[in-house]
């Protein structure tokens, strides 16, 4: 049997989470060391998986399967394809960065890092699950640590509200999705939660058409689909930095990923039937999110709404249901994950030093923290879809895919590029350049750890932007598999 890479990957943070809970809070250094080690392991392993995985192999790899409740068809079944590998890498990157930027958490570090590790484990679990039940388990595993981290370490003004809102939305979403999952289970009549088996179930068309929206929308709530997005800005704003990074960077992809894996892959004909709706909602996401981001005064809200906008592109890519669209969606999930993580990381650094996120009260920060400014600018350029950065290579295929099925989507959503450029540049200018307000004189530069985060994430985005083949080759492979499920007709 092959080395159980994926299990090691998933259980490393899980184990770390449990170990951390057992340590006393006094041992802050040890706690951080363990968290860092675990996240470094995750990053290393996910990167290793990403690079050793040969892109030409078709279908899933690193599969492990252990029966758990065979009579119900539930098993521990993991495996990844070209689509999920970059997402694992993304999770690794964000986990590692999250630990680094949270280094200075003074308040109950044990719980903080433990919960964080739970979150990491849960996303890794979702990305590698090949069993519906297990996927759902990991999906739900995140709810509590997420809620708790927001209400305990979040920003004092809004954490109650934000945490509650987020939990409620996601809870409702997952309940809807759960109903759909059960419907699948029973509808297939195969008595199994094995997704590979369900893929081949050949579900009747009417069934697919009825249940697809339930499952897709249920999961897509976590991806911030219109009109169920409003948890996202509030939640991101309320959360502590590392959680915002993970939430916007990875958790939203979890929603999108689950929607793709279960909604589209298991109900392909349902997806084709409803694609127009997803396209419509995605387009609204893109334009509406961009317009709202422009109207925000709070730095974190700007990023929050920009995430809504960018996740719309992922949805469009999915709903295009063709090679370009899916490829772009995959790239965009990775690109947006890295970008938004870096955004939130920098915002956190800014907030730590200025204790404000009000754009009007900030200014000239590039003078004190040039590298943070650099990171924010790079993220901004990615977000603007500027060529040379990962955002562009992700958006182009999405638009290409959209052109093929619904040109108006491409045309309308492209408007957001300019709006995005406007608000990003305005924010960059107001926050990082210009006059320094008197209240902000003599700020410290960001710490070396933070610099490492900024450099690492920026370089990833630039590298992908210049050499899209790094990521796209694997994704194309995953896309081809999905296209086969879709009947290869599109």
């Amino acid at each position: 049997m092959q080395f159980p890479y994926l299990s090691v990957l998933i259980f490393t943070p899980l184990a770390a989470a449990v170990i951390l809970l057992l340590l006393p809070n006094r041992q802050a250094r040890l706690i951080r060391a363990i968290a860092l080690t675990a996240s470094a392991l995750v990053l290393g392993l996910s990167a290793a998986l990403f690079f050793i995985s040969s892109p030409v192999v078709d279908g899933y790899r690193f599969i492990e399967k252990i029966d758990w409740l065979p009579e119900l068809g539930i098993s521990y079944h993991v495996g990844v394809d070209g689509f999920s590998l970059p997402l694992l890498l993304l999770a690794g990157l964000v986990a590692f960065s999250g630990v680094l930027v949270s280094w200075n958490v003074q308040d109950r570090p044990r719980e903080f890092f433990s919960f964080f590790m739970f979150l990491v484990a849960s996303v890794l679990g979702v990305f590698s699950s090949l069993d519906l039940f297990q996927l759902f388990f990991f999906f739900e595993l995140a709810v509590f640590p997420k809620y708790l981290m927001i209400v305990m370490w979040g920003s004092p003004q809004t954490r109650e509200y934000g945490g509650m809102k987020l939990t409620l939305y996601l809870f409702l979403g997952s309940v809807v999705a759960l109903v759909g999952v059960f419907a699948l289970y029973f509808g297939s009549g195969l008595n199994t939660f094995d997704m590979l088996a369900l893929e081949k179930a050949g579900l009747p068309l009417a069934f697919q058409q009825i249940w697809f929206p339930v499952i897709f929308i249920g999961f897509a709530v976590l991806a911030g689909i219109f009109p169920f997005y409003s948890w996202a800005p509030d939640g991101h704003v309320a959360a502590p930095t590392a959680v915002s990074m993970l939430l916007a960077g990875v958790e939203m992809k979890v929603g999108a990923f689950a929607a793709l894996r279960i909604g589209i892959e298991l109900l392909p004909q349902g997806a084709q039937h409803w694609a127009w709706l997803i396209l419509l909602l995605g387009t609204i996401n893109v334009v509406y999110g961009a317009l709202l981001a422009m109207a925000q005064k709070d730095l974190k809200y700007v990023i929050g709404y920009s995430s809504v906008s960018h996740m719309g592109l992922v949805l469009i890519g999915f709903a295009a249901l063709n090679q370009q669209g899916l490829l772009g969606a995959g790239l965009q999930m990775f690109s947006h994950g890295v970008m938004t993580a870096l955004f939130f990381a920098v915002v956190g650094m800014v907030y730590d030093r200025t204790h404000t996120r009000d754009i009007g009260q900030l200014g000239g920060l590039a003078r004190f923290m040039p590298l943070a400014a650099f990171g924010f600018i790079v993220s901004g350029l990615v977000s603007m879809g500027m060529p040379g950065f990962s955002g562009f290579v992700a958006e182009i295929p999405i638009y290409l895919g959209a052109w093929r099925v619904a040109p108006w989507v491409a045309v309308v959503s492209a408007v957001s590029i300019v709006i995005t450029a406007a608000y990003i540049l305005l924010v960059v200018r107001r926050v990082f350049f210009g006059e320094v307000p008197q209240s902000l004189s003599a700020l410290e530069d960001i710490h070396t750890r933070d610099k490492l985060v900024v450099l690492m994430l920026s370089l990833v985005m630039i590298a992908v932007g210049l050499l899209p083949g790094l990521i796209s080759a694997g994704i194309s492979d995953g896309v081809n598999r999905i296209l086969q499920l879709l009947g290869g007709s599109l």
Partner: protein, 712 residues
């Protein structure tokens, strides 16, 4: 060495002088002027040799000698440039070379009075002179050397180069290049004393006015090239087939043939360059430059270039015309413009007090003579008048410079503050400045067309004779203009040189240095004897035209009689009217003519009209309409409106939709759960492990429920 092989090098010595002064010797004044002189001298010697050789060649016009090279690749063909020499070119080359050399020599004296640099002299202003002790121990102001002496010689060298280039060109392209470089030189030299606002404005005016003509000319050039595929004279003007096609194909503009349209477009360049109505306004103002520059512009270069172009393109202008037949459109155009301008400018000259301004309007008027002659087909007469006019007008300008110098000297001694160019303050200078007077008299008489003795008589007579035979209207107009010419010349001679001095400065004026007077005397010789060559000249230049364009005129005594009568009558009348002009008295003509004189004096208010009709609206158009309204208000306004609309939309969505509907809807939902939330929040105070355990318990419970649910 054979002139055929080197004639194309003639423009280069002045160009080399220009660069030499600009780059190397600009600190060394003497070296600079020697360099310039050497350039002009070499060109002069070369030109004479070329002229000599040209005279000796039979049928030079049919077989001009030339060289050419490929210059601009243009699509599948190539634009060739080169130099060629035919009779018109040889003659022009010669008169340009002579006048240029004389002007150069004169300039040395004009700008350098043998005194060192003044302490408070500034570049960009005429030297103020400095306080000095004379031999009697009196403090006097002595004129000082021009601070930008070297630059002056560099620029006039470039000017000369451009004119030589223009004359030697065998194609319209290099002709245009020389033409435009001259425009630049005139701009820089008219504005030589750029520190004076008037000079600065005059320079701009000169450049812009001629540029209006040039823009038309450029169109003509483009049209010509696109129809013929070449710029070379020999291939256009020397080819009867080409001319035939051009003159018979319709251009679609105002019913003109292509030859007609192109002719008029090119002649618009002439109108600008040769200062014909309505683009004449720059030339009088051009005297803001130093006097040698005026001489350059009025005689050797600029204005001659315009007429030269018209002469050069006469075959095109006259394409389709037979002597005696109806005039072609370009001929009609240039004839009308020329005749009108000749009269119009002569009238204005009557009312001018500035010694150079009178000459300036006389130039405009004389150029009108030439163009009118050309317009009625009198090619040879026009060419001849061009040459003689160059000599005597150079002479007159240089002479007036000498007079002004004398007046300035006198003013410096007497301490008077007066305009040294105003003829009202002069008088009696003939005895103070005899050499200048002699030369000026020769030039003036030539201008007035004093019979037999002067070259001006012969050339003007040629024109009148042709006009008499060809177009009586033009004849009468020109004859009247000639009368006026003689009159204002007499007025000028009388006011300046005769009678009593009308100011202390005029009393104290003295003769200029030999370096200035010698060129005057040499030019005076040319002005006088020029008429002797009229027959060989005609024969030589007439070779330029195909036989069918050579006009056989009926012999008649009328034109000769008229030209003698108007010249002598005008001179006499002028002398009679002005010989008693006294200090402080109004102009005798003013009392006689009243408002009419005012109109002359104010130049028929053309400048004022342009100011009101063209310049101010243009400034308004540029500053207010385009720069402010179109760009800043309309175009930027649209842009800003789009930007504001987007912002407004964002705000609207934020406040009205997002907060109220989507976020608010979620909140309403949340409100229901608020109760549970607030109860749960009590947990936060407890130990985390406890509710982590609670969490896991819930999860397990959920799992059990699922199992239970599934087992059903």
């Amino acid at each position: 060495m054979n002139p055929e092989s080197y004639f194309w090098l003639i423009p280069l010595p002045p160009l080399a002088a220009f660069f030499g002064i600009l780059l190397l010797t600009w600190r060394k004044r003497t070296l600079s002027h020697w360099l310039a002189l050497a350039g002009a001298g070499l060109a002069f010697l070369g030109s004479l040799a070329v002229l000599w050789r040209a005279f000796s060649i039979e049928h030079l016009a049919e077989h001009p000698f030339g060289v050419s090279i490929d210059w601009l690749p243009a699509g599948s063909s190539v634009m060739r440039i080169g130099a060629a020499l035919d009779p018109l070119g040889a003659v022009s080359l010669a008169f340009v070379a002579v006048t240029v050399l004389m002007i150069f020599i004169y300039s040395i004296g004009y700008h350098n009075h043998g005194q060192p640099e003044g302490k408070d002299d500034l570049p960009g202003l005429p030297p103020r002179g400095m306080e000095m002790m004379d031999e009697h121990g009196h403090t006097v102001r002595a004129a000082t050397i021009e601070p930008m002496y070297s630059r002056f010689f560099a620029l006039i060298s470039l000017f000369a180069f451009a004119m030589f280039l223009l004359v030697l060109s065998d194609n319209l392209l290099t002709l245009y290049i020389g033409w435009e470089i001259m425009g630049l030189c005139s701009y820089l030299l008219i504005g030589f004393w750029y520190g004076r606002p008037s000079a600065r404005d005059a320079a701009v005016k000169a450049f812009m006015t001629t540029r209006i003509g040039d823009a038309f000319m450029l169109l003509g050039l483009a049209a010509l090239y696109s129809l013929t595929g070449t710029f070379r004279f020999s291939e256009i003007l020397g080819s009867p087939q080409t001319l035939e096609i051009l003159s018979t194909s319709a251009s679609g503009v105002l019913g003109l043939s292509w030859a007609g349209l192109i002719g008029i477009l090119l002649l618009m360049g002439t109108v600008g360059k040769s200062a014909q109505f309505p683009l004449h306004v720059w030339l009088p103002d051009a005297m803001e430059g130093p006097t040698p520059v005026s001489a350059m512009i009025h005689a050797a270069t600029m204005v001659s270039a315009g007429v030269y172009l018209a002469l050069r393109f006469f075959p095109l202008i006259a394409a389709g015309w037979q002597p005696g037949g109806p005039l072609t459109a370009p001929m009609l155009f240039i004839g009308a413009v020329g005749a009108f301008t000749a009269l119009f400018a002569a009238l204005i000259a009557l009312g001018q007090d500035d010694i150079k301004r009178v000459l300036a309007y006389s130039t405009i008027s004389q150029l009108g003579f030439m163009l009118a002659a050309l317009g009625i087909g009198a090619y040879v007469a026009a060419a001849f008048h061009l040459v003689t006019h160059a000599f005597f007008k150079a002479l007159l300008f240089l002479g007036s410079g000498s007079v002004i110098h004398g007046m300035e000297h006198g003013a410096a001694h007497s301490g008077e503050h007066l305009d040294p160019q105003n003829m009202k303050y002069m008088g009696g200078l003939a005895w103070k400045m005899p050499l200048t007077f002699a030369a000026f008299l020769a030039g003036g008489l030539s201008l007035a067309g004093f019979p037999l003795l002067t070259s001006g008589f012969w050339s003007k007579d040629e024109i009148l004779k042709s006009a008499y035979g060809l177009a009586p209207v033009v004849f009468y107009t020109l004859a009247f203009a000639a009368l006026l010419t003689a009159f204002y010349t007499a007025r000028q001679l009388t006011l300046v040189f005769l009678g009593q001095p009308r100011s202390r400065a005029a009393e104290k004026a003295h003769e200029s240095r030999p370096v200035m007077t010698w060129p005057l005397l040499i030019l005076a010789v040319f002005a006088l004897i020029g008429g002797l060559v009229v027959k060989p000249f005609e024969h030589f230049v007439a070779g330029m035209l195909p036989h069918e364009l050579l006009v056989e005129l009926p012999e008649s005594a009328v034109p000769v009689a008229v030209s003698v009568a108007v010249a002598l009558g005008g001179l006499l009348l002028g002398w009679l009217v002005y010989r008693h002009a006294a200090k402080g008295q109004p102009d005798p003509l003013e009392s006689a003519l009243g408002p009419l004189f005012r109109a002359f004096h104010r130049k028929f208010w053309v400048d004022e009209a342009y100011q009101a009709v063209i310049l101010r609206p243009a400034a308004w158009l540029a500053e207010t309409a385009v720069a402010r309204w179109i760009d800043q208000v309309i175009l930027d306004g649209i842009l800003h409106a789009v930007g504001r609309f987007t912002l407004w939309l964002g705000e609207l969505l934020r406040s009205k939709v997002d907060r109220k509907v989507f976020s608010g809807g979620g909140d309403a939902l949340a409100a229901g759960a608020q109760l549970a939330g607030s109860q749960l929040s009590g947990l936060q105070r407890g130990r985390v492990q406890e509710y982590m355990a609670g969490g896991i318990a819930v999860l397990v419970l959920a799992g059990l429920m699922v199992l239970f649910f599934l087992n059903l």
